[in-house]
């Protein structure tokens, strides 16, 4: 608690009875929201709960049908974000709006009237540096934006708002794009800003992060507030989760003990380069057996993406990759798909789906050439539609119809679509990268349970995740990657955060990467 937060002064923002309707949707239903000066107020809720709508009302992008907004006690009516900025409110969106070829300072000055003519950038560099120092933000004002990491770019967005004199900052899921260390630094920065009197709205659906950063919180569910500005003392994660999703959420998944079977996937001395032609994988040995989940832990960018791409046939490599005894290294994806590999890609929109095509056309992506969906040279769209409707029902994909375009699905529903497609092919091996990232609590639970169900049916699962809790909850073994190497494999039951953390940062090596038994013998047998 700091000097500002427990005051009885006029609130920075006071939204009363905000009601916002779209055709057929009640986005906000008489929502009250009060932000005190100098506090960090978390806005929590599942995807589609109305968080963004509420903030877009505050920013002047939408005009509510009912309700009033007061900013520092004065009633306001914003017609555009310009009005909101003038009143001292700024928002950092999930997708940054920066010009990559320009410097930090230039990006901050874009859209402002000054400098009028000659650009004396040195002077403005100084101003920006000073402003950054005031809030403990590390940034080089003269650096070009394309040289900056995602975390640094976010700092530029924050500075942009501060430079415009904002006293109220809205952060839209700011940690979703950040590495854990960057997230920690951001949270420290936000706390520092709050102690200097800035008021911050922190949109999130990550419970632990909210507990760490927020002074108070408001929870939305289906457009209604289920908690209005409550304090965080003595409130459990389970309670928060149930306020968000409206029912109890099981955090400990039900996982059956089961002996792993035959080796399904084996990597031998696999090396590969990344897009910049630098070594990304260095002599990786791994093996994965039926009915087993092998977790891959590591700080983002330590070769996990390349590992997945190499296994799924999307990237060239050296070495051998055995899938059920067949070498699939450097074979196109159709070979591994035919061999029973299902791939849940990290990038759902960019890789896992065709956004403008219907749900039907998205679910048949991998089986449109086999009966009964294929009929000689044709696609039998009646059959495909039936198949899609079945999956929609079974996997609980929420959409008006199977003709709905994939891009209109929420993150959770899109992921369910991808899972439905991948799991319905009865795979032997599932390669899943970040399958729950960006999903809300309810969807995470569903996705994790689906993976565990597959494990029980004897499927081998390679699970890459940056969420260590998830890895420890689901994996039978966890392999840790650091700079393209597997630095150790630990048993899922014995794994603890501390050991994993040390291994992830390269300060410790674990035991060998592949248990000696049937693995080697098995693959050689099938080789002949």
């Amino acid at each position: 608690m700091n000097e500002y937060s427990n005051n009885q002064r006029i609130p920075a923002v006071e939204m009363r009875d905000i009601t916002l309707r779209f055709p057929g949707v009640l986005a906000n239903d008489h929502v009250n929201f009060t932000l005190h000066e100098g506090e960090i107020h978390a806005l929590l809720g599942e995807n589609g709960a109305g968080k963004s709508s509420l903030m877009n009302v505050l920013m002047g992008l939408y005009q509510p049908q009912e309700g009033t907004i007061r900013v520092f006690g004065k009633e306001v009516r914003f017609n555009s974000p310009k009005d909101a900025i003038a009143a001292g409110i700024g928002m950092v969106h999930q997708h940054f709006m920066l010009v990559p070829t320009m410097s930090v300072t230039e990006n901050i000055l874009i859209g402002l009237d000054k400098p009028k003519l000659a650009l004396n950038l040195k002077h403005y560099d100084e101003e920006v540096r000073h402003l950054a120092e005031q809030f403990g933000i590390r940034i080089d004002p003269s650096a070009k934006v394309w040289q900056l990491s995602v975390g640094e770019q976010q700092r530029v967005e924050i500075l942009k708002i501060l430079y415009r004199g904002a006293r109220i900052l809205v952060m839209d899921e700011p940690t979703a794009v950040l590495a854990p260390q960057e997230a920690d630094e951001l949270i420290a920065t936000l706390k520092g800003m709050a102690s200097q009197g800035k008021s911050i709205i922190f949109i999130s659906h990550k419970l632990n992060e909210v507990q760490e950063v927020a002074d108070r919180l408001t929870i939305l569910r289906r457009g209604k507030a289920t908690a209005e500005g409550i304090g965080l003392e003595g409130i459990t994660r389970e309670r928060l989760a149930s306020l968000m999703v409206g029912r109890e959420v099981i955090f400990n998944m039900h996982k059956v003990d089961r002996e792993p079977g035959e080796v399904v996937l084996q990597l031998e001395q696999v090396s590969a380069v990344n897009n910049k032609n630098l070594p990304a994988l260095k002599n990786v040995d791994l093996c994965l057996r039926a009915g087993e989940i092998l977790g891959i832990a590591g700080v983002a960018g330590n070769g996990q993406s390349e590992l997945v791409e190499v296994v799924t046939g999307l990237r060239e490599c050296e070495g051998t990759i055995w899938l059920d005894g067949k070498d699939i290294a450097n074979k196109p994806p159709q070979v591994s798909i035919g061999g029973g590999l299902a791939h849940i890609p990290e990038d759902r929109i960019g890789v896992g789906s065709a956004p403008n095509l219907s749900i039907t056309k998205n679910v048949i992506m991998k089986n449109f050439e086999s009966e009964p969906i294929s009929h000689r040279w044709q696609v039998n769209y009646t059959e495909a539609g039936r198949h899609a409707a079945e999956l929609k029902q079974k996997y609980d994909i929420l959409a008006p119809s199977v003709e709905t375009q994939a891009r209109k699905l929420s993150g959770g529903n899109l992921q369910k679509l991808i899972l439905a497609r991948e799991l319905s092919s009865a795979p032997h091996l599932i390669v899943a990268m970040q399958p729950t990232r960006g999903l809300d609590v309810g969807a995470i639970e569903a996705v994790q349970q689906l993976l565990l169900d597959q494990r029980e049916t004897g499927c081998a699962i390679l699970l890459v995740s940056e969420d260590l809790d998830e890895l420890m909850a689901l994996s039978d073994r966890i392999a840790v990657m650091y700079e393209g190497e597997v630095v150790g494999v630990v048993d899922g039951k014995e794994a603890d955060l501390n050991t994993l953390g040390l291994m992830m940062t390269g300060s410790m090596r674990g035991p060998g990467s592949c248990p000696p038994e049937p693995a080697a013998a098995g693959s050689q047998e099938r080789e002949g």
């Binding site: 055709p23 017609n79 791939h343 789906s353 956004p355």
Partner: protein, 368 residues
């Protein structure tokens, strides 16, 4: 009150693409009319004359369809390529190479034209025209698929190569007594025309419409089937929407780039053949009045729909015929250009809507 351009939160209504295309055509006539009026002409009179010379008689309409035939074939080829986001603007070149290959049958000659049954000769000309166009589409397709070379550049430049290749033959080896054209082909290898029926029924006398238009209509149906029903069409749509997803789903993108380019080229090549065998009856300079480029506009204006391609081609055929009748003949190009400009800019209405905002009450009204 002020105008505000807002991103659409929902899909544009189904009628909107059709409405904007029609609107673009109408508006193009209005704008062109304004320009004509500004230089002192009477636009209404010109348009009346335009209409009469294109649709005033069956003979005129036959001329329109003759012009529409290559546009239909080329427009369909472009529509397929554009669906995969392959910007084939090389139809002009593929057209010329198709014309060249089909001319080979007579000029080399590959068969004895006087003794071979016409149906065999004409069939061979069609096959070679298709083959030549496909071959000429294969080159940019291969370059794009294997080396990622931008197809806009390669197809555009290959157009010039094709024109000069044809010139080499008609100026030299195949020249008719030093003129820049081959001798007229024997009547036996001409595509049948309506005028051929004039002996039985004088109604058809002078009508130059040839059977090529039927090829165009058949191809439109086939293409509709490919796009909407076939596995290949599904792949094309998938690659067009998200090539990364297609690769992830195990579709061989390189192979399909080449195939689509060859298909697109083949149709342009067939158009070249019908023009040589059905209209000009020889290979000569300027057998195309920019059909290859107009085909791009046709495909775009038709929103890549095969049946719409046929309709738009007829409209453009009418513009070409009418343009021939009045001086300066540039008027129809003026209208064509304006239509394309408006169609492309109207695309913004698919993604944005224009609202009228009352600044005082902040109430929002939809205007478009």
């Amino acid at each position: 009150m002020r105008l505000q351009i807002v991103k659409r939160s929902e899909d544009p209504p189904k009628w909107l693409p059709i409405a904007t295309s029609l609107g673009a055509v109408v508006l193009a006539f209005v704008i062109s009319g304004g320009i004509l009026a500004a230089v002192g002409a009477d636009p209404l009179q010109i348009y009346r004359y335009f209409f009469r010379s294109a649709f005033g008689s069956w003979g005129a309409f036959s001329d329109v369809m003759v012009k529409a035939t290559p546009l239909i074939l080329i427009g369909l080829g472009c529509a397929l390529a554009f669906r995969m986001k392959l910007w084939n603007i090389g139809a002009e070149g593929q057209f010329y190479i198709g014309a060249f290959f089909s001319s080979m049958v007579v000029m080399v000659p590959l068969v004895d034209v006087n003794t071979t049954p016409p149906i065999v000769t004409i069939g061979l000309m069609m096959l070679l025209g298709i083959f030549g166009g496909a071959l000429y589409g294969f080159i940019p397709g291969l370059l794009k698929a294997k080396f990622g070379i931008n197809e806009i550049i390669t197809t555009l430049m290959l157009n010039y190569v094709a024109v000069f290749w044809n010139n080499y033959w008609i100026f030299g080896k195949w020249s008719d007594a030093g003129f820049q054209m081959t001798p007229t082909f024997p009547r036996r290898v001409w595509l049948p025309r309506l005028a051929d029926l004039a002996k039985q029924n004088p109604f058809f006398s002078g009508m130059t419409l040839h059977v090529g238009v039927i090829f165009g209509l058949i191809v439109a149906v086939v293409l509709w089937y490919i796009i909407n029903k076939s596995r290949w069409g599904y792949k094309i749509n998938l690659i067009g929407d998200n090539p990364k997803a297609a690769r992830y789903a195990g579709i061989d993108i390189a192979k399909n780039i080449i195939l689509v380019f060859m298909f697109s080229g083949a149709l342009a090549g067939l158009a070249g053949m019908t023009e040589v065998s059905g209209v000009v009856h020889r290979l000569q300079e300027r057998i195309s009045t920019s059909y290859g480029f107009s085909g791009v506009i046709v495909a775009w204006l038709a929103k890549l729909d095969p049946f719409a391609v046929v309709l738009v081609s007829i409209l453009f055929g009418a513009l070409l015929v009418a343009g021939r009748e009045i001086q300066p003949s540039g008027v129809s190009f003026l209208i064509q250009g304006t239509i394309l400009f408006l169609v492309i800019s109207s695309d913004v209405l698919m993604r944005y809507q224009i609202r009228l905002v009352n600044t005082k009450k902040a109430s929002v009204e939809e205007a478009a």
